[in-house]
Symmetry: C2
Subunit: 425 residues, 2 copies
């Protein structure tokens, strides 16, 4: 099965919004084993949307239209799809009822325009809305299919995962139930992950290829390993989930603590879970990352339960006065250890995490750009916790060095908390 994405919205062409939706859908299609050879952005113009959809259907079996399902007059993806199908739109009473209820539940009166979102091309199916007011569309056309999903990222992601990918895999002749789970790893390159997992790939191939395994690089956020399983029979979903769980156990045995989460987990969520489960709080001291570590951690809702705060010690005097760092070089093993302990002490936290280093553009204290120290104080955690440090030599420009330092520090913290929890159990 081949599927293209058509992203609708003049703001995308004008560069007012970066089209992250298409990237995300591209990744999901790749992980589901669906080929995608083109992606197109088109403005809010019915003729051009129609042309883009028609052309996508000439090249591919399916097209996902993203955006243009809102209530306003420039939201015309519904009309464009109806034109491609050669049918009228009809208002669906069950969708009208849902939209009315959503407004009532929020205590707001419904603008009449919103009823346009209940319009569906005659003969087409829809994807029930669970998060917004716009339902999605599933519109078969001959042997092909047009999907429509909203451009609001969390509504789009929900409908792609819940309805579009399962429908596509079913159309691929997979009439069985398909389930998948993604293991997220950090610390190894794609080829190293593939090498570790090679025994499983061979065993699954020999056993008939169910489940299957796919890899995807996610920049500095690591390598994703996706397990996809097919279930058949009356208990298909349970069969598929059982295959996945069994395979996850085997993969975790091979990949060890490089696995930091599954599916939508990111590194800060992994860290937050370990801190909560240890009953510990965290204090952060940062120099070259200038607050990026704390900013990522505070993006997790509920961070106040385990994050005490952070100190951005950009000036050396701040390192000495607030964190108690001794005189001497501030890009050093001694300084980062003192920063970690100082962060825990000054912020009243169980665990202290610190980074110092040279982000560039020029060297500092005779240390080359890319020299980074990470420090961790686990002494208040029990389990024989100690102060540990690690040195990194990072390539790239200022921004890349900063970002790599952030994810490296979070991963070091994660592994240390994991080891402490294992020592404890």
């Amino acid at each position: 099965v081949r599927c293209e994405v058509v992203a609708v919205g003049s703001e995308l062409l004008l560069g007012q919004i970066v089209d992250t939706n298409s990237s995300w859908m591209g990744e999901q299609l790749a992980l589901a084993g669906i080929d995608s050879y083109f992606q197109v952005k088109v403005g809010d113009n019915q003729g051009r949307i129609v042309a883009a959809i028609r052309q996508a259907l000439e090249r591919s079996d399916a097209v996902i239209c993203c955006g243009g399902l809102g209530p306003t007059q420039d939201d015309i993806t519904r009309e464009a799809i109806a034109e491609v199908l050669g049918v009228e739109l009809e208002s669906r009473p069950e969708l009208v009822a849902v939209i009315r209820e959503l407004f009532q539940a929020r205590g707001r009166s419904m603008p009449a325009n919103n009823l346009r979102q209940a319009d569906v091309p005659v003969g087409a199916g829809f994807i029930p809305q669970t998060r917004g007011t716009a339902p999605g569309l599933i519109c078969p056309l001959g042997g092909r299919v047009i999907y429509a999903v909203p451009g609001v990222p969390h509504e789009m992601r929900d409908m792609i995962t819940r309805a579009v990918i399962p429908d596509l895999t079913a159309r691929a002749g997979e009439l069985a139930t398909i389930r998948s789970r993604t293991l997220r790893t950090w610390g190894l390159g794609e080829s190293a992950v593939a090498e570790l997992v090679a025994p499983r790939l061979e065993a699954l191939d020999a056993a008939g290829g169910n489940p299957t395994i796919a890899f995807l690089a996610s920049g500095i956020e690591g390598i994703k390993v996706r397990v996809t399983a097919k279930g058949t029979g009356p208990d298909a979903a349970r069969v598929a989930e059982a295959l996945i769980s069994s395979e996850e156990t085997q993969l975790r045995a091979l990949l060890g603590d490089t696995v930091f989460g599954i599916d939508d987990d990111n590194m800060e969520v992994a860290v937050s879970r370990l801190l909560v489960s240890a009953g510990a709080t965290l204090g952060v001291a940062e120099s070259l990352t200038g607050g990026l570590i704390a900013a990522r951690l505070t993006a997790v809702a509920g961070a106040s339960a385990w994050l005490r705060g952070g100190i951005v010690s950009y000036a050396s005097e701040v390192k000495r006065e607030l964190l108690g760092v001794s005189d001497g070089p501030v890009v050093s093993e001694e300084a980062v250890a003192e920063m970690a302990s100082g962060a825990a002490r000054a912020l009243g936290a169980t665990v202290g995490l610190a980074v110092t280093g040279v982000a560039g553009p020029t060297e500092q204290e005779g240390q080359p750009v890319g020299t980074v120290w990470i420090g961790l104080d686990l002494t208040r955690l029990g389990h024989g916790g100690a102060v540990t440090t690690r040195q990194l030599h990072l390539p790239g420009d200022r921004e890349r060095i900063r970002q790599m330092t952030v994810i490296s520090a979070l991963d070091l913290l994660r592994r240390a908390l994991l080891a402490a929890a294992e020592a404890d159990s």
Copy 2:
């Protein structure tokens, strides 16, 4: 003139990289008054790249291919363009010389593959490389034209600004020299900016439309006002620059201190210049933004000259102990004022900036999500500087509230420093 963008790279389709290049090019085309109705992403496959270029040329006068000009075997944009043109590639000795020199200057030996980057379709022109090893291409075909630029963002931006936009505007019949400058504003919506600038739009229209003015929204980063001027005669560039400078003066008189910079300036660069010119240093205290303000400021190279550091006071005890905030609610005018003063004192800075508020997902201290206080302590700056506060009620989700708080706080600091500098002069 109509121009499309074709972004080349399988990693774009797979979602491994978000295609920010196309967004940036779309914005530049819009600001130059060039229509762009479609953008396409295509993988590293010669047949499909050729099909994408051919189709773009059916719909538009020009196409910009971005990416696929590297030295490796999967970089095949050059070959695809030659196929569309129906010509061979030829190695250009002047480009070979430049590539050899670049490697020699870096003290590295040149892999033979890199010489592929000196290949140019017979009869085509090239855009000299100034930052990387890949030259760009300018390939006329009948009355149309195919451009190629590298996918490395800073190389791409340089070539689009320096060569592609001027070439496109020249082809639009503008054989004169075109220059432009973008005023960046913050604090007003697009319609408010347009209303303020309306007298100039009318005056310019009446005077023959040189220079011209265009607006572009950039999300929470404000509204851009671009002035484009045409110069003719032997002194064309100087004539165009003079027209722009004169118009900039008029626009600044209308827009006042909503203008925070020109062209590539962002808000943190504007703040950094004002701090340097005041000889002042800054200390930041953040709760709901969790380090985002400090992280943006430390993205500016050389920030150590004026940034002392920051305190992320997520826990209330940290606000009280490190910043000296009194007992009582921490989302309040009193608390944010004490945080600002505490940041300046604890970090040894001239100026203190602080934010506190409710990012959600749930209310806090009985205050609804989106309640934000910004505080500023300028008492150490002289000029009768005082402690000032401002309250905001921000819509949106947790991440949007955090980002809006960051830019609002930086803008408040910018305006206060500007006012202090004016009082001083």
